[in-house]
């Protein structure tokens, strides 16, 4: 399942997409958990009893601010974002 966490408002679209099918068999031991400077990810057991990561609920509503340091203005390209780079299965994507 591709899970889109975030929101769209007047200032833009802020979604982090996680392809949980790729996330299940994580080969790098959930490197995203430590890679995110804001520690926004956590491991949950989904509806199909698979262990996957998701964006913590409070962060879903504040992605524009929480991810501010990881936006292009801070010098990152989409592929170099800490969470995207750490996720070698390629499960994490951003809408910006």
């Amino acid at each position: 399942m591709i899970a889109n966490y975030g929101y769209k408002d007047g200032s833009g679209e802020y979604y982090i997409s996680i392809d949980t099918d790729k996330c299940i068999a994580c080969a790098v031991g959930r490197a995203c958990l430590d890679a995110c400077p804001k520690q926004m990810f956590e491991v949950i057991t989904d509806d199909y009893d698979d262990e996957v990561i998701w964006v913590k609920k409070p962060n879903c509503r504040t992605l524009a601010y929480d991810c501010a340091d990881c936006k292009p203005a801070s010098g990152y390209t989409a592929a170099a974002l800490p969470c995207v780079a750490a996720c070698t299965p390629g499960a994490i994507k951003h809408s910006w």
Partner: protein
């Protein structure tokens, strides 16, 4: 085998009792108090009593919705996406896109042929893409929700609403009232705005196959028309008891997992 699905929504508790694949009883309760535990207990007991059943007759109870973790007697919690996709697919087997618009949240869900959610996007931030937004605006216009929906169908004007927040949108509505804009046009503007926000979420997951709308906003004919226009689809399938679809999906998953 009897299974139960409980949808602990932000506004109401819905209970579906399923006997095999037949709905034995569907029951809705609007909680009048803040204690969600007690609301769930009462809704469940009322549904059982109405169906002539005892708790021991029910093989499994699964819960979904924003308050699913507060249903202490449920053996498992299921996300709204999984439950909604399952319930919509049961009602409409060709359904591949589910639009769920409840009181406080809206979401778009893509589903496969088995009713398994494969992709979803939700409105996690505020009520501006959900039913309570329409409700607040209908209050500002001094119309009931039914009158509000019907009024919007009488308008063919397109008035953009720019505010992204319920509070600011209400100011916009008040400005429109002061400028003597007909209620019909304001109602359509509000429902077009909700539909536009919901549509943006659905487009994120993609619109495919039969589109099914679930949740309480199905009862608002004006919203259904606005959504159809925003999504640019010929038809949107509407279930008979739209607010129960997630509870139904929950009960179906409970039944599946007993085999």
């Amino acid at each position: 085998m009897i299974t139960a699905g409980i949808d602990m929504g932000s506004r109401s508790v819905k209970v579906v009792l399923l006997d095999g694949d037949k709905v034995k009883k569907a029951h809705l309760m609007l909680p009048g108090e803040l204690d969600a535990d007690q609301a769930a207990e009462k809704a469940y007991d009322d549904a059982l009593a109405a169906a002539g059943l005892k708790r021991s007759d029910v093989k499994a109870v699964f819960a979904t919705g924003a308050g699913r973790k507060q249903v202490a007697f449920a053996s498992e919690g299921i996300t709204e996406m999984t439950a909604g996709a399952k319930g919509a697919n049961f009602m409409f087997p060709n359904c591949r896109t589910v639009v769920d618009v409840g009181a406080e949240e809206g979401r778009g869900i893509k589903t496969d042929a088995e009713g398994r959610a494969t992709d979803f996007a939700g409105n996690e931030k505020c009520a501006a893409g959900a039913g309570s937004f329409a409700e607040a605006m209908s209050r500002a216009l001094q119309l009931t929700l039914k009158e509000f929906g019907d009024a919007s169908l009488k308008s063919d004007k397109t008035i953009p609403m720019n505010a992204q927040c319920t509070v600011f949108a209400e100011s916009e509505v008040v400005s429109l009232i002061h400028s003597a804009t007909p209620k019909e046009d304001i109602a359509k503007a509000v429902l077009d705005a909700v539909a536009s926000r919901v549509c943006a979420m659905v487009r994120r997951v993609g619109i495919e196959g039969e589109v099914v709308l679930i949740g309480g906003m199905v009862h608002n004919d004006g919203f259904v028309q606005s959504l159809k226009t925003a999504m640019d689809v010929d038809s949107i399938s509407l279930p008979e008891m739209p607010e129960y679809i997630s509870a139904l999906g929950c009960a179906l998953i409970a039944a599946e997992r007993q085999h």
